[in-house]
Amino acid sequence: MSVTSVAAYDFPPKDGADKFPAPLLYIGWEDHKMFCAPFCVPVPPATKFGDFVTDALPGMFSPHPDFKHIDWNKTEWFLSGKPFKPDMGKTMVENGVGHKSVVRFRTPGLTGLGNSCF
Amino acid sequence: MSNVFIAFQRNEETRAIIDAIVADNPQAVVSQQPAMVKIDAPGHMVIRKSTIEQELGREFDLQEMQVHLITLSGNIDETDDEFRLTWNQ
């Protein structure tokens, strides 16, 4: 039983993919907690991963002074916490990124304000 | 041995209650904080009606403490004459 209840209890989830204009993606930058939490954004499934990096990430992360020093060729990526090598020319779906996936990236050498991981 | 504690608002009436607690519990430690007083004692604490009445110079119903109480910790046992806090360890 998925809930302790007085009677049968079965309700639809509130956040199925059909409820959103596009699947949700969570995106976090490791060692940069100035951004207090990962961000949550809808990303159309046909978006190319590379376009997401060039077009969407600056709006979220460029307020951090480390952002302009990122070498995207050296960036390490994680999907649901596991190392992952996205193909920049392929779409989110083709890269295995779906509704409510968590993508994190680590930028070696960049460790935040005064190396505090903020 | 863990402490039990009780805290009261700091006012004229609780001054007498606190004096009574200190008199009846030699191990009690009183700490004055903004607008409140907290009293800790190892293992147990007793609050006696008769001692409070002596301090106040009038009759006192132990349930009158309800008006000034802020918080407490420990198992409670209350009668007309005594209010006890204890940890069973």
Partner: protein
């Protein structure tokens, strides 16, 4: 006439006569039809008369003492109002803590009232029924006195006016709201362990004692009066929580694992809500009584430690998340205040970076962590702000499915790494801030797949006023969400330095101290 005065009854006899003897066993209807919710949670009670209320409070003395508390409270509030007491507080930054309180805590006092009325009705035993009735009345009194007291501030300061509307909508208010909704939608036994024991006994001291002592320390007689008046009821509430748990455990050995699972769950749920209190204590009070860390050590580690040592004789263990909560005491308030600082546009109160003097205090109170991890953040923000670039995040954060707090918490043993946990349920991923929140989901996924997560609701288009069309060119989602929240941008929100509150307070204070 020969009159014989009868001896006054003792406390125990009075309690028996006025409580137990007024109850009866129904005969026209079966007991289980009158009290239909007592079995489905799996708790077994064999003899309700074994419940002991050590305060032995009867309804007549309850009314007498509550009336006296009210008279004292309203006398203080009148005096405070008549003397423009709001100008006597240390600094108008302080008043933002009151806005947080009114929007976040007062509505859950009301929910506590409803919850205790509900479970009081459901218990077959007269002892706990009367104690729940009293607590239900206490809780509505708390809601009312808080609203009355804070209405005085609403005459002068921004951000108080839409507290009830905002409680059901604004992102961070879903934290206390969902906590209480979770509790009242449990059964009568889970509710009393959740609120009566885990919250009232283990955690409430951390909410009220430092907050209200802090109010007094910052010259706020109004909040001090309602806070202590409410707190004077808490001892009774805490006692109910403790006595109920002992009673349930003594009734049947099969109750232990159920109760332990609730303690694990509700300790963690309540502790996560207190994140808001941690930042209030360390960052929002101009004059601080003690740090969150010190309060945690006194009221959780020492007092909670004593409590669980006492309950060990029943087989109860320290709640599962206890160790992690103790590790987080060095970090909690800093992470939380950065969240509100970053999303300072979307909350109906003001935020600010701590001053150099504030940071000295933080550094002294958090010698192992503040300078190492947090100082450079605030220094950076202050520098940016001085150059006209006050940082506000405009992208929505990822939330934990259970506590609904943005995913700000770090790995228990690595404060540099945000903790991510996830579960799959019926082909959808769910995300959590901690092992504690994940295990709550995994036990009852059918309940929490329905969480109303503010960020997801915004993305679903459910948080805009009805008069706008999100499809139209020039649609500004953030501005429309603020309108739906009823937050006046530039007045109720953003940095304290730029606020009308600050300007007004300075003007009025100048008028109050000379002509």
């Amino acid at each position: 006439m020969d009159m014989k005065a009868s001896k006054k009854l003792g406390l125990k006899e009075r309690y028996t006569l006025m409580t137990r003897d007024l109850a009866w066993t129904p005969t026209y209807q079966a007991v289980k039809d009158v009290f239909p919710l007592t079995e489905y949670e799996g708790i077994k009670i064999h003899d309700w008369d074994k419940f002991e209320d050590p305060f032995r409070m009867t309804m007549d003395s309850y009314w007498k003492y509550q009336a006296e508390k009210e008279r004292k409270l309203y006398a203080i509030i009148d005096a405070f109002t008549q003397n423009n007491g709001h100008l006597g507080v240390t600094d108008a930054r302080y008043i933002n803590a009151l806005k947080l309180f009114l929007t976040g805590i007062t509505p859950v006092e009301y929910m506590a009232h409803r919850g205790f009325a509900h479970i009081g009705r459901q218990y077959p035993g007269a002892g706990p029924r009367v104690a729940c009735l009293m607590q239900s009345l206490d809780e509505i009194r708390h809601a009312q006195t808080q609203i009355h007291s804070l209405s005085n501030y609403n005459k002068y300061y921004n951000g108080f006016q839409n507290w009830r509307h905002q409680h059901d909508r604004v992102w961070y208010l879903s934290v206390p709201k969902s906590f209480f909704d979770d509790a009242v939608s449990g059964g009568p036994f889970e509710y009393i362990i959740a609120i009566g024991f885990a919250f009232e006994y283990v955690l409430t001291n951390l909410l009220f004692v430092p907050f209200i002592s802090g109010a007094a320390y910052n010259g706020d007689m109004g909040a001090m009066a309602f806070g202590f008046s409410a707190q004077s009821d808490e001892s009774r509430h805490m006692t109910l929580g403790l006595e109920v748990i002992k009673f349930i455990l003594e009734q049947d050995p099969a109750n232990l694992p159920i109760v332990q699972a609730w303690i694990d769950k509700w300790f963690w749920r309540g502790y996560r809500v207190l994140t808001l209190v941690a930042m209030m204590m360390d960052y929002m009070l101009p004059k601080r009584v003690m740090s969150w860390k010190e309060a945690w050590e006194i009221y959780a580690e020492q007092n909670g430690g004593a409590l669980f040592a006492d309950l060990a004789r029943y087989g109860i263990k320290v709640p599962k998340g206890w160790e992690q909560a103790c590790k987080e005491k060095d970090h909690l308030s800093h992470l939380a205040w950065n969240t509100f600082y970053s999303y300072g546009m979307a909350a109906p109160f003001h935020t600010w970076a701590p001053s150099e003097k504030d940071m000295e205090w933080l550094s002294a109170k958090y010698p192992d962590t503040f300078d190492k991890y947090y100082r450079s953040l605030w220094t950076h923000y202050a520098r940016e702000q001085a150059e006209g670039r006050r940082y506000y995040s405009t992208t929505l954060p990822m939330l934990c499915q259970i506590c609904q707090i943005p995913m700000i918490f770090t790995e228990p043993d690595d404060p540099t790494k945000i903790a991510y946990r996830e579960s799959d349920y019926k082909n959808i991923k769910y995300h959590f801030c901690s092992d504690g929140c994940k295990s709550i989901f995994d036990l009852e996924p059918g309940k929490y797949v329905q969480s109303w997560l503010p960020v997801h609701q915004i993305h679903q288009g459910n948080c805009f006023p009805s008069d706008v069309d999100p499809g139209k060119p020039g649609f500004n989602p953030l501005a429309e969400v603020l309108r739906w929240y009823r937050i006046s941008d530039g007045i109720d929100n953003r940095d304290y330095a730029d606020s009308p509150d600050k300007q007004n307070f300075e003007t009025w204070r100048t008028q109050a101290t000379g002509n």
